[in-house]
């Protein structure tokens, strides 16, 4: 017992830390998708957040400015997607994909001079967790309240479920979709900032390793509910923690590395089945552009 307890607490701590960027990204995507926009470009926004946080903190010697830079860049990228999908009404799957590619390329272009330089690190402030992690956790109840207990939340959800009806009730469909998509980008940017300033304080190409795609699966698994997002993210973080624990046992790190992706598919299946069973709906107008009559 005396030897087991520290192992368990360390696994939990790693799970929370590894789950942190997933949580931020998923909360953001929940806002985006609740408003009826699907943004598959999370991976691109996250990696751009990671590189800009690193860059801005290097230039200004201040981690906080790095974080703000990441939020700004993530938001700006989401704005492109919002413009493409809300204004131009193009296929949102493809626009998101383009955003992911753009982010991956731009980040490696911008970051190539910074590979291998140690970065600015966020210091732990509570229970050994840093400010960003705690902020993300606090965002969970906050987002839940906004989405389900406020007038704004009702507007967001109605825009995602039935934009025509919301529009006839005087809700500005376009504005809400723009704002929610940008919120998604800001949070994906912050998730990236967490990766390059806290989780692995440095910059390496493709350091998000698919986390942006995992976020999309988590959003479905969480049935677009912030509280379920917390559970899902920590579960996923736990997988990452266990991965590190199993490595010394001689299991190939490459094979262990497939775990998060296999688990993503499993989560998608579970999430979808749950949804079908409980008839918990995805936003009914998800991915469909709104056309004013």
């Amino acid at each position: 017992m005396t030897t087991l307890l520290p192992i368990i607490t360390s696994i939990i701590k790693v799970a929370i830390e590894a789950g942190s960027p997933l949580l931020a990204g998923t909360l953001g995507e929940i806002f985006t998708e609740r408003s009826g926009v699907i943004n598959l470009g999370v991976e691109g926004m996250m990696i751009m957040g990671a590189v800009s946080a690193f860059l801005f903190s290097q230039i200004t010697a201040n981690a906080w400015i790095g974080i703000m830079g990441a939020a700004l860049i993530g938001g700006a990228m989401a704005l492109i997607h919002a413009f493409m999908s809300v204004k131009l009404k193009v296929n949102q799957n493809i626009s998101g994909l383009a955003l992911a590619m753009l982010g991956s390329g731009l980040s490696s272009l911008i970051g190539q001079k910074y590979i291998g330089i140690p970065g600015y690190t966020l210091k732990p402030i509570l229970f050994g967790l840093d400010a960003l992690t705690i902020f993300f956790i606090l965002l969970v109840p906050a987002s839940w309240i906004i989405l389900f207990k406020t007038k704004i939340g009702i507007s967001i959800r109605s825009v995602g479920d039935n934009p025509e009806a919301a529009y006839s009730l005087g809700v500005n469909v376009y504005a809400i979709r723009y704002i929610c998509t940008v919120i998604g980008g800001v949070l994906a940017g912050l998730a990236g900032a967490y990766l390059s300033l806290s989780y692995i304080p440095s910059w390496t190409e493709n350091m998000t390793v698919g986390r942006g795609w995992i976020v999309l699966a988590l959003t479905i698994f969480a049935s677009w509910n912030p509280i379920h997002a917390l559970i899902g993210s920590w579960l996923f973080g736990g997988i990452e923690a266990i991965q590190y624990r199993l490595q010394p046992l001689g299991i190939s790190p490459s094979l262990l590395g497939t775990l998060p992706f296999i688990f993503t598919i499993i989560m998608l299946v579970i999430g979808t089945r749950e949804r079908v069973r409980k008839r918990m709906g995805a936003p009914a107008a998800l991915g469909k552009p709104f056309i004013e009559e």
């Binding site: 799957n93 383009a98 590619m101 753009l102 991956s104 390329g105 094979l255």
Partner: protein
């Protein structure tokens, strides 16, 4: 439009965009070596983009060509490494067949999840990419690690009967090229002249209406995806047996992703995949040359892909808008 935006990127790097484009073109088409490299690189692009064009026509967004290519390469290489003594006329066809099956199987799970549970195929096909690449890593660092690979993540060189013949002195492995061209022609007839082609287009237009017209959605998507991911698998065999002569890490240079763009640039028409793939391949070859001479980073290809995709979307928007105002 995409050219203009990338031009700005060149400017930021202090390079005259016009001379950069000139250098790309010259590098890709201006010499025998450049031209042969362009054709060699276009082979996997034709196969993958053709498969994707078919899947996209049925509105199945297969983003997994990269993983399907890798899986095809793994399966084909497995045959090459297991039966090195076999004569080429038996070994090579078997490698291609097994590669096709391997790629197709890799595309099967996302397809089933889509048809049975309506799970977003973009996410699942991408996840399958990550898994395939890690399995490749595992094999190359573990059981398949070559004795003569000096610690590099390569298998041993295939036996000579498993190596694809090339056109004298170039890297153009013509058996794969011939398969690719035959596949393009076959796909053209499939889409234009067969019931399945009709069904593909019907499903693509409106899956619900197609289903109520008595078309079996699951069957159509399943067939299209088996072809689509199988073709990517063949591309993988070609790369392993034709270009490198072994299985190695980085067996695909992002061909699966580039093919997404190519398929859209072709407006999903099978016949166009050949010409667009050659042009795109020229861009890769020429781009590589200027990357080396001008010191530009690798990421520029991804940026180009992203910007190009946005431009296609914006272009579609403009066409749609024009169409509407004419009505």
């Amino acid at each position: 439009m995409a050219l203009a935006i990338i031009g700005v990127v060149f400017l930021v790097y202090g390079v005259n965009p016009l001379s950069a484009y000139g250098a790309i073109f010259h590098g890709a088409f201006g010499s025998i070596y450049g031209l042969s490299e362009t054709i060699a690189k276009s082979i996997p692009l034709i196969l993958c983009s053709l498969g994707l064009a078919l899947a996209f026509q049925a509105t199945f967004l297969n983003i997994g060509a990269e993983g399907q290519l890798v899986m095809g390469a793994i399966c084909g290489s497995g045959i090459a490494l297991t039966f090195p003594e076999w004569p080429a006329y038996a070994l090579v066809p078997l490698m291609f067949i097994v590669g096709f099956v391997g790629g197709a199987l890799w595309g099967l799970l996302p397809t089933l999840l889509k048809t049975m549970l309506r799970i977003n195929e973009v996410i699942t096909t991408l996840m399958m990419n990550y898994i395939a690449i890690r399995i490749l890593q595992y094999l190359l660092f573990g059981p398949w690690k070559g004795k003569t690979a000096w610690g590099f993540p390569y298998t041993d060189i295939f036996s000579s009967s498993a190596q694809l013949p090339t056109i004298g002195g170039t890297r153009i492995h013509y058996p794969t090229l011939m398969i690719a061209i035959a596949a393009v022609i076959a796909a053209y007839f499939l889409v234009e002249r067969t019931t399945l082609g009709l069904e593909i287009r019907a499903v693509g237009d409106n899956p619900d209406a197609a289903t109520s017209d008595g078309i079996n959605y699951t069957k159509v998507i399943l067939l299209v995806m088996m072809i689509s991911s199988g073709l990517a698998g063949i591309a993988g065999v070609g790369e392993a047996a034709g270009i490198y002569g072994r299985l190695r890490l980085g067996i695909s240079q992002g061909y699966g992703f580039a093919s997404i763009i190519i398929a859209w640039l072709c407006s999903l028409q099978p016949l166009y995949t050949i010409i667009v793939s050659v042009l795109y391949s020229g861009l890769l070859v020429g781009g590589e040359m200027i990357q080396i001479s001008l010191g530009l980073p690798k990421g520029i290809i991804d940026i180009f892909n992203g910007v190009l995709l946005f431009s296609i979307l914006a272009g579609e928007f403009l066409i749609r808008k024009k169409g509407r105002s004419e009505k």
